[in-house]
Symmetry: none
Subunit: 193 residues, 4 copies
Amino acid sequence: MKRDKPKFKQIIDAAVIVIAENGYHQAQVSKIAKQAGVADGTIYLYFKNKEDILISLFQEKMGYFIEKIEEEIEGISSPSEKLFLLIQKHFQMLAAEPHLAIVTQLELRQSNKSLRLKINEILKGYLKVVDRIVQEGIDKGEFRSDLDVRLTRQMIFGTIDEMVTTWVMNEQKYDLVALARPVHQLLTKGCCV
Amino acid sequence: MKRDKPKFKQIIDAAVIVIAENGYHQAQVSKIAKQAGVADGTIYLYFKNKEDILISLFQEKMGYFIEKIEEEIEGISSPSEKLFLLIQKHFQMLAAEPHLAIVTQLELRQSNKSLRLKINEILKGYLKVVDRIVQEGIDKGEFRSDLDVRLTRQMIFGTIDEMVTTWVMNEQKYDLVALARPVHQLLTKGCCV
Amino acid sequence: MKRDKPKFKQIIDAAVIVIAENGYHQAQVSKIAKQAGVADGTIYLYFKNKEDILISLFQEKMGYFIEKIEEEIEGISSPSEKLFLLIQKHFQMLAAEPHLAIVTQLELRQSNKSLRLKINEILKGYLKVVDRIVQEGIDKGEFRSDLDVRLTRQMIFGTIDEMVTTWVMNEQKYDLVALARPVHQLLTKGCCV
Amino acid sequence: MKRDKPKFKQIIDAAVIVIAENGYHQAQVSKIAKQAGVADGTIYLYFKNKEDILISLFQEKMGYFIEKIEEEIEGISSPSEKLFLLIQKHFQMLAAEPHLAIVTQLELRQSNKSLRLKINEILKGYLKVVDRIVQEGIDKGEFRSDLDVRLTRQMIFGTIDEMVTTWVMNEQKYDLVALARPVHQLLTKGCCV
DNA sequence: AATGAATGAGTATTCATTCAT
DNA sequence: AATGAATGAATACTCATTCAT
């Protein structure tokens, strides 16, 4: 399996760095190869084409992301607390990988429609986790019973995403993780008194 | 002033159509010129370069957007009601211009970082309107006094934006405007009981 | 009509020279553009792609070829004499354009199958002229009545083509046109006494 | 001697199949290796480079070809009959190996000039056989005494070659061997009455 | 002898922008 | 003001060959 070979990860990590530092459109295959310490042609022993590097990058990172978040909320009984931990872990992981944050929040969004559709497909795994928390919140009586799960998930995801993007655009100069608590409070209690 | 000449708007409207129908990366200057019924070179009598078309497009549309929203909330005393009207008007205007919705929610996001920074600059006008509503809500006691205005605005904008994007990605096949009330409720009351 | 513009012919003539002097595989578009005195991009205002240059080259030259040969044999009553004039004109025209001879006999044959099929299509016009001469020869009683037109045409074309190719491979160092008469004699009388 | 080892022939046979089925330009070394059931690198233990595979292929097949033809005409006294047998055997052998016919008549002609020059070198053995028949025909009085041996050989070879190529291009769908007699008649008697 | 992972040179084509008319 | 022909920079990918095992 190619995914398990060291060069696979080596090339993906190189892609994250090159894209974060040069921008999506200046991330030529030859630059990624050089950063990974392999020849240009070697890239094509592990990836079908350039787009495949980016999809694999997103898959690998997002897979790890979901895994970690599920570990985090496992065994927690309160859905509201689960939501808080999801937000916190999300912020923590991106704060810990500044390059990756730039790539996912800014650079990968300039990709073409076909790539974005594939990315959306991968994102669905994450959205399902949120859906499950919301549904559980309703079932356990912590969340309002008249909630529309889909809309609620969109609010949660849209809010988290906007927070991270704003933080990245502000050059990550404030403490993102510290926002987890107030963001959780906003989402659960709303802005009204 | 170039902005007042008929060809200025003519080219911008052509750009919206061409981008919506062909996608950002397939929206060549020559296609826009053809759609506008002018020669390629004529574009450059009205716009500095291609990026300038897109920025102007966003400015024109967003300026009109803010104007309409301010008309809508003018004279309303309740900040919460103002927030509702803002959401509703936002949804109404994009639902009324499907091409524009595709361009602002999907296509223009594929632009490079420099263009996106300029777009963010233009967006600030909109965000200020939201900020004012939130601040007024706090002052009038309708919103919680411990709200962070900036974070609250990010939640509101992130949520609205996510709703519209999801609706566009689903090919605008459900009634976006009907979501205004439940979205307002989610934002003001949160998801908790 | 693009074919009538001066740059169309200019680029085709450049292609003949570049291919003859550098070989098919070393005839890059940029080299052809340089030889033609235009920018690389200009090529694509007149030709769909590189293959289109080569097809057009063959069409233009072969069209001229057939035209000249038909002029030559027009008004001649003896089919055998027509055959002689066809051979002579064929040899004369290629002897007069050494570059073109190299291109048609050696270089263009290395093209891929798709291009060769298109070239064969164009060749059919020439083969029809030969067919007509053979048929007329049979009808007028100059040629044997039991001839298979198709086979006879293949002998004639195969022989002429082999003569030219051998001459080109021998660096055109002997007088090709002088062979017209003996070749005609061989084709009409065969090798037997 | 490498030529006697089983893998040498194994690789050449694989090359014939791969080239016939995929075309010259799609016949990568790795495909030939796979068809031969050896590793890519193994090819280079038996052949200097890719060109060497093709030259060896031609040498092997052409050597066998000449051998068979010489066996066929051996002991025949009439040069004209010898010519007939040469044509017939030539047609028979290619009709018996459809893959080889495609390779020699179509695919190998797409090779570059250097390879084609080497192929011509190998062909000389075949041409010498023809030369000998023609000379003998003149000496024995069966052929006209004013024949130019070189030109006559070019007619014979050009005609045979064109017949086979046309047959291959027509997907070998008619009986090539049946043409041996009429072709021989054409070559010996010409087209005139 | 045999393997197969790694190498890296080489090129057609697009499209924003210009400028002579 | 308007035109549109001409420009030219920039980049992903293939595949013959090598060499450590």
